[in-house]
């Protein structure tokens, strides 16, 4: 039996590895087409490598092609899949090294082509110095550009989401003057504006020139090099531009093969990560990672969440099933976390805007507390916000902004939400307490108490 994998990063290689664990090379041949130079790397780590916190590119590689080959996985780098023939069950790939086209038949297909950066027309200019941040190859290109002569002095980052904010900090760490352009009234619009405001202040304190309500209309170049970013109101000189406008599922090949896409543009799958076609699940066709859509378990809606942790989980689930085992991926609840300098930002579930869009009526509660007992050295302020359904009190969402030991508290909230706890039930939770770790009422419990009061008050 032969498995062909399209995409050699987290999802694809997790699937390949899990399938291999269950079926040896005598029972399953595995061929992987990867268009870049690397396998199994942490794209989420690229900003830290650009900024210098991570010294070596190879530190981001969890498992290189040779390690996979040693496990009997035939990894073909710089091979870009360009066509899928579902009827005859074969993948066509372009070998960038030789220029050849190769055709590889399969019994099982794992589609893990990832995502591609959202690139508006104005960003597609034939000039150097404009970068997305999706692949290690992107990272290499950024490094080369930043190290070249003339050395870039001014960076403009477009988009104030996770990648944008992380890249803005990285550019500051590299000594550049940085402008961050965000079209919303606050950066980090994955949290509510009241929490986003705290992030805004923290970024500005790094010396980043944060411009909100900034509508980019074009990028100017000069002699083949980027020169400036132009918004509706202003022009920002730039020697390097980073696009942090998000990504969309890389599903062109699948769509061309006749597989209908979900409303988010991602592939639809069943719980075992089998791709859903026009007439139901497709036999032996699997997908995982940034190219699929999943279900948000709190809103009940399909959602596209390109995140390494989901890609790994989904890839593992696909590989276990591919290998004859049983595992499922039920969906996500929107947990995410980031760090800007010392500021930690975390969220899970729905923001107010998302809760409204999902049809919920809700109450909110926000509290400020500390990471440790107030009297213990290093106690740092943290803000927690909870969103609970009106009447039932079900926890619908939570957000944390704080400093060290703050953000990871979101996990307790995520597990509570996953289990459909009410905020009142949460007030009884047996969370860990000792002065170096928490006030005697953990901030999560204080927020749960206040949210309980809000639910009662709303009736």
């Amino acid at each position: 039996m032969k498995l062909v994998v399209i995409g050699g990063d987290a999802a694809g290689m997790s699937a390949a590895s899990q399938a291999r664990k269950r079926l040896g090379p005598d029972r399953l041949q595995i061929v992987v087409f990867e268009r870049g130079h690397f396998t199994s790397y942490s794209a989420c780590g690229i900003p830290y490598w650009i900024g210098g916190a991570v010294k070596e590119r190879d530190a981001l590689v969890a498992r290189d092609p040779d390690a996979h080959r040693a496990a009997g996985i035939d990894v073909r780098l710089r091979h870009e899949a360009v066509g899928i023939d579902l009827d005859r069950r074969a993948v066509v790939a372009h070998d960038h090294a030789t220029g050849d086209e190769v055709r590889e038949p399969f019994d099982q297909l794992m589609y893990a082509a990832g995502a591609v950066p959202v690139t508006p027309g104005w960003a597609r200019i034939p000039a150097g110095g404009v970068f997305g941040v999706q692949t290690l190859d992107d990272g290499d290109a950024i490094h080369r550009w930043l190290d070249a002569d003339p050395r870039p002095q001014r960076a403009v980052v477009i988009g104030g989401g996770y990648i944008g904010v992380e890249m803005a900090e990285a550019m500051v760490n590299r000594g550049l003057a940085v402008t961050l352009l965000e079209k919303s009234p606050q950066p980090m619009s994955t949290v509510d504006p009241d929490m986003g405001e705290r992030v805004h202040h923290a970024i500005a304190a790094l010396g980043i020139d944060v411009r909100v309500n900034a509508h980019v209309e074009g990028i100017e170049s000069d002699g083949g090099r980027v020169r400036a970013v132009v918004t509706r109101d202003e022009e920002f000189p730039a020697d390097v531009v980073v696009l942090g406008l998000g990504v969309r599922p890389n599903t062109t090949l699948a769509a061309d093969a006749g597989i209908p896409l979900g409303v988010t543009g991602g592939l639809r799958t069943d719980l075992r990560m089998r791709v859903t076609g026009p007439d139901g699940p497709l036999d032996g066709i699997w997908a995982a990672g940034d190219c699929v859509q999943t279900t948000h378990l709190i809103s009940g809606q399909p959602i596209h969440v390109p995140l390494g942790t989901h890609a790994n989980k989904q890839g593992r689930v696909a590989g276990i099933n591919l290998g004859g085992g049983y595992a499922t991926f039920p969906g996500v609840i929107g947990t995410a976390v980031t760090k800007v300098c010392e500021l930690e930002v975390a969220r899970t579930g729905l923001t107010e805007k998302e809760a409204t869009a999902a049809g919920y009526a809700y109450v909110t509660a926000s509290v400020e507390s500390t990471s440790r007992a107030g009297y213990y050295p290093g106690a740092a302020t943290m803000a927690i916000k909870m969103i609970a359904e009106k009447r039932t009190g079900l926890l619908l969402g939570a957000q944390i902004v704080g400093r060290e030991e703050a953000a990871k508290r979101i996990d307790a909230l995520a597990v509570a939400m996953w289990n459909r706890m009410t905020v009142e039930e949460m007030t009884a939770l047996d969370l860990s307490y000792a002065p170096p770790f928490s006030p005697v009422w953990d901030p999560v419990l204080i927020a749960a108490r206040k949210a309980t009061d809000a639910v009662h008050a709303a009736g």
Copy 2:
């Protein structure tokens, strides 16, 4: 209506404050008898105050008597309750300042007398320099002893549990030579021996002379001052001795009043913290904190867990009900955490020994991972152990030993266990991921995967 509260620390004052919030002074008179000099303080913070991390005693006081008085709560310090007359509904207290006895009638009684240190016969010697660590008054006494002439040089801490280990570190920080005597084969017997061994190494690395399997037989004194601690095998010179042998519920007064105690020696209560008497709940008699027993929700057994966080929650629940509201305290799952120098130790649920005692058949899984992505600066090793029920895979217990950002991860595990998740269900949990906070597989998820494999393998 009059409420009399016995004990002015966490449980008692939380109850008083919550009752006051609901019923003003015109509707409810509140009298508090507190035998010491302080109210609403953090006993858990005492080791950090002794060690110098916390500079001022008053930093440990969350709310002083005058603040409570301003809220219309009649706090009477140095008044030790010495008798309860349930039939005539009155408390008799001894005023240590005047030597007088006062009799206070009540409509509602809140019993929050806390715990007393376990003090074997050999520890009750008429010499200075032997201390428990329960109250701020104890802390004052230790400080005075350590500062006095001749200045103590050698400390012996008896008992290697939370307080013992924390006090041993405090004594090191004060510049004393410290010996820690523990009767078990490992200190920190609240975690399994394999995890306790890691704690043992960390304590020893602080320069503490850790002696396990040490059976203390006596304390020697000389001229009214402690001189040495004698074990079955050896004698340890000591200028100061700290008793960390645990505590027992301070329920003598209740028992004398005819209230039957639970198997742990603690008072039994209903879900609303109403004391259970010979024939069921007693009208208007409440209890909370270190003097009550509660239910371990995983073992189903009664348990005595003297911990500030439970005392606060229980006191709040009692006070809400006292004030005419509704709240419940369902029980605990054994979550606890501590820090020894840089080492963080956390647990929730049952240890192997406790699981066996409860009647469970189980499997275990232990993993080592890191607090951050392996390539991110500051990534520190952490060990996680999970205990899962055989066949069902229900999470029964978890333990973590690591460094910064390790221990608070126990909360996600505690919430999972609270909701009766299986380890296999846990592999799908949407926990937060970003390189500064976690490897792409959070250590909790890695442990859940390994535990799932163990459940399957055990059949």
